[in-house]
């Protein structure tokens, strides 16, 4: 711009109101863009220093690249999933008895089924000519448990979702029961909880206990995951397939559940009776679902109710019913280490026993 043009320009700025405004807006944007880019540049050079000073720790994949990779992976996976022979509905033909609910004890049974199988095993041994019949340690424990009702095998798992004393579990554990006993051995808590909501469609239910019981616990360290689960995402769970809490991990293997039910998803993870009602977390410790069943015909196939359905239901209940499932104080743990995450989450997972 020559000096003459400059003068004319400045003159116009003084006289023309809208021109001045436009120019100022432009100036603001151009400074903002400069500052933003400068920030990016400085951050990048600091990132290089960081990698220089702490070389082993970080390997950075930039976000856009990650998105591209995951999109590609999903595309490839979805292509693989499409049945090349057009045998649509093949899964529909399988019998319903593949769908295996994961309650620890069948309704109406005494709950000593594993003793029976253990005994059968011992008998088989003697038939084969082994003379030295000994009790397995497992059996000794079950004999003790006959004496101690507290030590009996849990029906399944429930977990606290609100400081007001609300728990989520799988509805098939409750069936006709109005009340159940919840227990958390580590905290030394045993108390009763009543059924306050049973979903008509999916396998989940809400229990409530006296809020005083959970008063001294800290705030619940997880929230509902806000996004959709992606195929291959790492998940983990804590449940009670035996008398102590057990940790298992797996990956999301399908976005739909048994017979392509879209309210469920499928996880490649081994699961045993007792895991019913166990919460499923993603790697950041966000709640992503509830375990309900596995596939008895296939190995390591477990089904879980989707988190977004449950969250939606809870929101609905808050508005229409008198349930005050306040989850505002729930927080997210920022621990990267799995064992640290578990330490925080663990006190909120409870065993369900018969009332």
């Amino acid at each position: 711009m020559s000096a003459k043009e400059m003068n004319a320009f400045e003159e116009k700025l003084k006289v023309d109101e809208s021109f001045r405004k436009e120019f100022e807006e432009y100036k603001a944007y151009s400074t903002a863009i400069f500052e933003g880019e400068e920030y990016g540049q400085i951050r990048q050079s600091l990132e290089e220093i960081h990698r220089d000073v702490y070389p082993t720790k970080t390997f950075f994949l930039r976000k856009p690249f990650l998105i591209a990779v995951s999109t590609a992976a999903i595309l490839v996976l979805s292509l693989l999933i499409i049945d090349p022979f057009g045998l649509e509905g093949g899964e529909m033909a399988v019998e319903a008895n593949e769908y295996n609910e994961l309650s620890g004890v069948e309704e109406g049974e005494v709950g000593e089924e594993d003793v029976a199988s253990e005994e059968a095993y011992v008998e088989a041994d003697t038939n084969e000519g082994v003379t030295d019949v000994h009790l397995s340690p497992e059996m000794v424990i079950t004999e003790d448990s006959l004496l101690d009702a507290i030590n009996k095998k849990p029906l399944g798992t429930a977990f606290l979702i609100s400081e007001k004393g609300y728990f989520i579990t799988a509805k098939h554990l409750l069936r006709k029961k109005k009340k159940v006993t919840l227990q958390q051995k580590k905290l030394g808590l045993t108390f009763h909880a009543k059924k306050v909501y049973v979903d008509s469609l999916l396998d989940f239910a809400i229990l409530q206990c006296d809020p005083k019981v959970v008063d001294h616990l800290s705030a619940v360290p997880f929230r509902f995951y806000k996004r959709q689960m992606e195929l291959g995402e790492e998940v983990f769970t804590l449940g009670y397939p035996k008398r102590d809490i057990v940790y298992t991990e797996g990956n999301v293997s399908s976005e739909t559940g048994f017979k392509s039910d879209t309210n469920y998803f499928e996880i490649s993870m081994p699961s045993n009776p007792g895991y019913s009602g166990a919460p499923l977390f993603n790697q950041h410790g966000d709640l992503v679902g509830i375990i309900t069943a596995n596939n008895s015909k296939k190995q390591s196939v477990t089904y879980a109710v989707r988190h977004d359905y449950i969250e939606h239901k809870i929101d609905e209940l808050m508005q229409t019913d008198s349930l005050n499932i306040d989850m505002r104080t729930n927080y997210r743990t920022y621990n990267k280490k799995r064992s640290e995450q578990i330490k925080k989450i663990r006190p909120f997972i409870f065993e369900i026993h018969r009332f």
Binding site: I33, E37, Y39, H50, V53
Partner: protein, 182 residues
């Protein structure tokens, strides 16, 4: 040990010039303190790195302004910024409000640091999400201050006018991004 002493004129000049050796020295000496603090207050290593790098950025920007004066030690100042940023961040995420209000009164750094970082991050993300060639054109014009003539040559536009046209379109898209992001 620069962190233990009062900040000198030479040090300020080196930071102002963004001297890599100087930045590295500061990084090495003060980052461990920040990492310890953040991790003790429910943060991860990555959080600590983010916070510290943002604080370094703010330090550089503060030093650049003419009226910058620092009476305290560099470590105190930089750690103060980091602490403020982290406390703001966890307050926003509703992690630990009590800690923030307890410590708030001891902080003498300006309140709007975190807002600045949020704003700049949004702009930077906007620029990156524009995609090519927009992203590069915007950077070339607004950051590297290249002329339209140079840009036209670099991006093989027929003439500066076409390049200007393209840049204008990119700017309009970026505006949308920034408004959406903030």
């Amino acid at each position: 040990m620069i962190s233990k002493t009062e900040i000198s004129v030479e040090t300020i000049q080196l930071i102002r010039d963004r001297d890599p050796a100087m930045l590295k020295t500061i990084y090495k000496e003060i980052y461990p303190m920040v990492e310890k603090y953040v991790r003790e207050n429910s943060g991860s290593r990555d959080d600590a790195k983010d916070i510290f790098q943002d604080s370094m950025f703010l330090l550089i920007k503060k030093v650049e302004s003419a009226e910058f004066q620092l009476s305290s030690k560099l470590s105190t100042f930089l750690f103060g910024i980091s602490k403020n940023l982290w406390l703001k961040k966890i307050t926003v995420k509703k992690l630990d409000t009590k800690a923030y209000f307890a410590e708030k009164s001891f902080l003498d750094v300006p309140e709007d640091d975190d807002q600045k970082i949020i704003r700049l991050t949004a702009i930077k993300r906007g620029i990156d999400e524009l995609g090519e060639p927009c992203s590069s054109i915007i950077k070339a014009f607004y950051y590297f201050k290249k002329s339209m003539q140079e840009i036209a040559e670099e991006f093989r536009y027929a003439n500066p006018k076409t390049a200007k046209n393209q840049k204008y379109k990119c700017l309009m898209r970026l505006k949308k991004f920034i408004i959406k992001g903030s």
